[in-house]
Symmetry: C2
Subunit: 496 residues, 2 copies
Amino acid sequence: MALPDLPPRSDTQLGDLDPEELRRHGHAAVDWIADYLAGIESRRVLPEVAPGALIAQVPSSPPSQPEALERILADVDALVMPGITHWQSPGFFAYFASTASVPGILGEMLTAALSVNAMLWRTSPAATELEQVAVDWLRQMLGLPAPLFGVINDTASSSTLYALAAARESIPGAHIRRDGLSGRADLARLRYYASEEAHSSVEKAGIVLGTGTQGLRRIAVDDALRMDSEALAEAIREDRANGWLPFAVVATAGTTSTASVDPVPAIAAISEREGLWLHVDAAYGGAAATVPELRAVLDGCERADSLVVNPHKWLFTPMDCSVLYTRRQAGLRNAFSLVPDYLTTATDGEPSVTNLMDYGTSLGRRFRALKLWMVLRAFGTEGIAARIREHVRVARQLASSVEATPGWELLAPASLSVVCMRAHPSSVDDEAALDDLNARIIDAVNARGRFFISHTKVRGRYAIRVAVNGVRTEERHVRALWEEMRGVADSTAPAP
Amino acid sequence: MALPDLPPRSDTQLGDLDPEELRRHGHAAVDWIADYLAGIESRRVLPEVAPGALIAQVPSSPPSQPEALERILADVDALVMPGITHWQSPGFFAYFASTASVPGILGEMLTAALSVNAMLWRTSPAATELEQVAVDWLRQMLGLPAPLFGVINDTASSSTLYALAAARESIPGAHIRRDGLSGRADLARLRYYASEEAHSSVEKAGIVLGTGTQGLRRIAVDDALRMDSEALAEAIREDRANGWLPFAVVATAGTTSTASVDPVPAIAAISEREGLWLHVDAAYGGAAATVPELRAVLDGCERADSLVVNPHKWLFTPMDCSVLYTRRQAGLRNAFSLVPDYLTTATDGEPSVTNLMDYGTSLGRRFRALKLWMVLRAFGTEGIAARIREHVRVARQLASSVEATPGWELLAPASLSVVCMRAHPSSVDDEAALDDLNARIIDAVNARGRFFISHTKVRGRYAIRVAVNGVRTEERHVRALWEEMRGVADSTAPAP
């Protein structure tokens, strides 16, 4: 490649836009956000747009000359907003809501302006140390014993991937980090375990790590959709006999489908006995442990090797923010630390200095701790517990209503804030017809625009799934949703 | 786990803070940001804090009761800001700067407020479609031929990991996604190739993927620190003869140490002949292709299977934003797509609908496209090219000054915007003494506070490394840095 000489700078305006532009349009953006949040309930949760609608409306090529911020922001309103699904709506009951709370938004504003990279302590000491403070505060709120190392990642998918990489690296004598997995006569096929209800990210991690989908053995669940720990012990025994090399177990405290909680104490006992790394996916459910009465959700997790909790799920922190905890800090670092010449610093090796890039794959690390720290302070531990307690109370109330209503049935116990149910008119007993009926109920509710609910399958049955975890969702919204579901069901004829 | 019943809600304030709080403190935050950017030059770039300083100042436990936002924001000033490294300073010449430009910050504000998850088209159609628009706009700016699939990830570490996962999955007949890598007599040890100068993330990807550090073979570089393509061809030949299974090559267009550009056309020819996936790491250097005169930086990349460019490096977009392009969209999707029941949607399979969660590990996906789209519009393609052209011109000017100055030497050619140099007084010829001298020059410059420069090693020699890629950095800053470096060098005695 030969690159030409370049002429001296022309008169073109260089540099950033004037900070006064930020002031002017930033004030307008703040008003826009405040109005957006204040009026969120008046918006359709799911947009009414066809695929390709936005693409058809924006120019197919970027502008050659600068465009005014007024015009760009006007286009956000005109072109982008019609295609936004409103995750901030109190009527958002799909998946798990991600709450952009007021303190979280303020934190993101400052993080964006500073745009520091918390890869090394030196590249922003306050970002690294505030991360240590925030994750330790959260540890205390969850009732987990110290010392416990924590690090913030983007999502639980990354946190679980990193935990399983550390688990893999901790296989005695295997030296997988150095020698890899393939072409080795000394290494058996690796296997790890999770329940049939475990999240797809648990399986995806194995795809990436090279253990393959076959390397994940799914363990059966009991009537309450919790991992059957005896089946786990039996599976490990069987796999060892068949030449597999078990290395980890992933338990879930709050599954995605039904919020079921695996029996972690029993699973921990098996993991310890078998010498397997125990990772707990508490991405959603962990937040419940901030409520003293619900702390049992993390029973046994003090024995886990690692655990993930996502503040962007049920702790009112904007996307993205996932905390990976581990009792085996060195194990995690051993799996990932790799320091090229250009990233060495004088403080490397000082025990008081942590370089957080050493605990995962991403070298670029946003200053995510700031928003989490601001959220925890702005709500206080009792304020957060009160909100989560209320979500659980309201969800259970909905579950009770479902149980008490003829023509409806609960498809899973509702112990946290997820309720799985279906309409089951006495006139219909064909499972396929019921699946179809309930899919149509969901579509009809969503089409009305006030609510967004999603589905799952519970033991093969199509379920209407309602997750109550957005900070703006109150009892009245859940009651209104329930009323609407019943109304829609009454006017939705089963397929003939 | 048995969870108790919960009492009805108390009188505790629930829900989010009042949007009027966002309005009031948001306006204050905007003024703070505008003042911060306007006054950025008056701040020390590297903070003067000892390890643990922030931790010592904040309470060791979270507050039980809510704290006022005034107080929290005041603490950001009092406790956090003293420990911030100012990546936005025009005096930031270390690593690669991440610019928070005015349009980028505005984009992040809106992204935070919406806090949508762009995992499925349905979970925010506009977020998915704007991502497709923004990455296609950038593709055009880079001069890459259509069609080219692109997706935004957090960092190049993830983008390169995903690309190599797709490469691994494309090994004919290997079915690694399903069967994994270990315990298979039918699978040899996997190997991929990158130059000695390739980024640490390339090696880290192999650690995660289970090919191991031994699975990466480092190829020698030529005098200009570019991969020796003949050595690559020979290494592949040798490895095949020794029973390795080569599967990918990673070329770099703009290395981290010196911004050298591998000979991609020659490497592409070898990769094609050998049937290997070619990934190009243009995380930093790719941006130069937005300048028509510098487009040769991506010569041959139209033949690459995948390529990564980071708008958060040299395209004035706040952390984090990394674009992974691939000509083999199906290959990437095949490596990652995994759709559980609860994430199926009615539009799955419609050719006009893309679910971006299918192209990587992270299920949670921030709406990163918004800031990129706003940055591209606010600067325009010519505005972006002008800024990058100026960075290159100024960096080369610095390189010329170094070459022309007795007692200094350039350690690598400066074709893009990175300059590697060292002081080399005629009185010193011991390499260890030169390393020490230059380390002390860097420390002294950084200690003065006006600039932040970092080091690297070039062929084993300790180098002062200056990267010119922050949007606020002008010729005058580079001239002042050079003056300061020379002054510091003159007053820094070589070790006796």
